[in-house]
Symmetry: C2
Subunit: 295 residues, 2 copies
């Protein structure tokens, strides 16, 4: 049996992702010897106590992180700066500070300035999730076979980076390493823009005249249904993701928008070949995903 990666791990925030980490740690003893959880809302902490998925529940984040050799932020990325201002003075020297946020440039921006000397910042992004949220939504298998992107900074402590990698490997993830800027562009197109589109098309449908809307709901089983699944995601999390990956998201929205209008124009003017070419590219991408066993 391997030694635990961390002796005392603090999860700051314990929703879908945090509570899934806690459940992995319950299942296998080599992740963290002791797991501490803290959260802003007393109801969440009460529920975590009931669920019995961590060793220590602590309502004061400053006390929660004290003496920990690892702290993982599992709150919406918009809350990072505020949380860091609270906990920074209480982080132990040598502590590994990581997170699970879907944006990484903003994490570096918000956490680096307050980082105490000797504390190692190693941001990470487990690419896993469901449309559900809260401590009841988590499960130990959430990260199985999913990518976790680790985005170390130039000069990051190599041992700390390897600990974070090993931590996620033991959670079942496949580890990849990217710089924060590339990470943010990639997730903007594969995840953030699809979510923006899904939220939007639901709103567009909602705005249709009452008679049509009724029919829309009735017949939504085709293409639309897939879009609404991802549109059911957590409000606070996605608001923060959009606001904290603004540049990359707006760039991808602009590119997409140009392309959508080019296709719309081809439809207007009956340019069959242009339309066929676009459809073929969609099929090509799909085939690539199938070959990579990602579809």
């Amino acid at each position: 049996m391997a030694e635990p990666v961390f002796e005392r791990l603090c999860l700051v925030g314990i929703g879908l992702i945090g509570s899934s980490i806690a459940r992995v740690a319950r299942k296998r003893a080599d992740l963290a010897r002791t797991v501490v959880a803290t959260a802003r809302r007393p109801e969440t902490l009460a529920r975590v106590r009931e669920l019995g998925i961590v060793d220590v529940v602590e309502d004061d984040p400053c006390k929660a992180v004290e003496g920990c050799d690892a702290v993982i932020l599992c709150v919406p990325v918009g809350a990072y700066a505020g949380v860091m201002a609270q906990i920074a003075p209480h982080l132990a020297p040598g502590c590994v500070l990581s997170d699970v946020g879907s944006t990484k440039g903003s994490v570096v921006r918000d956490l680096s300035p307050l980082l105490p000397p000797g504390v190692h910042l190693v941001p990470a992004h487990p690419m896993a999730g469901t449309e559900h949220s809260g401590p009841d939504a988590g499960f130990a298998e959430l990260f199985d076979g999913r990518y976790c992107i680790v985005t170390p900074l130039p000069g990051s402590d190599a041992a700390a980076v390897e600990k974070v990698r090993e931590f996620w490997r033991r959670c079942g993830s496949m580890i990849e390493t990217l710089d924060p800027a590339t990470h943010d562009r990639v997730v903007a197109i594969v995840s953030h823009l699809p979510h923006l589109i899904a939220f939007t098309i639901c709103g567009t449908a909602d705005d249709l005249a009452e008679e049509t809307k009724e029919a829309v709901m009735k017949f939504a089983a085709s293409g639309f249904r897939d879009f609404t699944r991802i549109a059911a995601s957590d409000v606070d999390m996605w608001r923060d993701v959009f606001l904290n990956n603004r540049e990359a998201l707006l760039e991808m929205l602009a590119r997409f928008s140009e392309d959508a209008h080019a296709l719309g124009r081809a439809v207007r003017y009956g340019q069959a070949e242009f339309i066929e070419d676009r459809i073929r590219r969609g099929r090509k991408i799909r085939r690539e995903l199938i070959e990579r066993k990602q579809a």
Copy 2:
């Protein structure tokens, strides 16, 4: 055992939908006593002979429809006018002419002018499909529990309309009736626009710089994957759908585009409340679908 709805049914085109109808007719004897299939490509007809899923395979569409009391067009909607010009003189008086196309205004436009007296046009749209195509892709359960929208015209023969309804009921579908224009607007938002978006975002990803594209493929498992599933659909079919539902599709693209840019603008200017409102509307639509057991 009920009498068959039709004595002699001709399927003009026998891809995913046509071959699924043929398979239902093989499975239950009360759909059509004899099924005739015709198609443009000799390879398709050869394959249908091998599969043994119809009673008669006929390469001349004019001969195929002769003596039939029902003809269902199962070719891409862009081919309807050409097919109709060929078969119209050979349609028997009293014959029910129907189809399975995803656009209905264009069907009325293309078929009505050539309709011989005594032939009953009853357009229909089974809302079922997969991303696969061709006679091997069909299966008898394709229509089970899915909606079939029947769009009779003012003055349509009531007995003919009821036959088409009963035909689809026996295929397992839930029957709904809409006028062609409402049908076209509804499918534009629930199906055609989502497909246009899916084709587009795949192309946008494909255009990204090589380095990012590689990462895009690797991490496409999140939101993007759902989009690529529908982007894998048949080229000819979707080109024709877009071109033949132009007005409704461009209207929905314009509405969606305004909404997407409004959300993009809120991201740019950090308008958290506006963003939250849009996300909540997505969740609301999702909940409505779940309540209707459509999700």
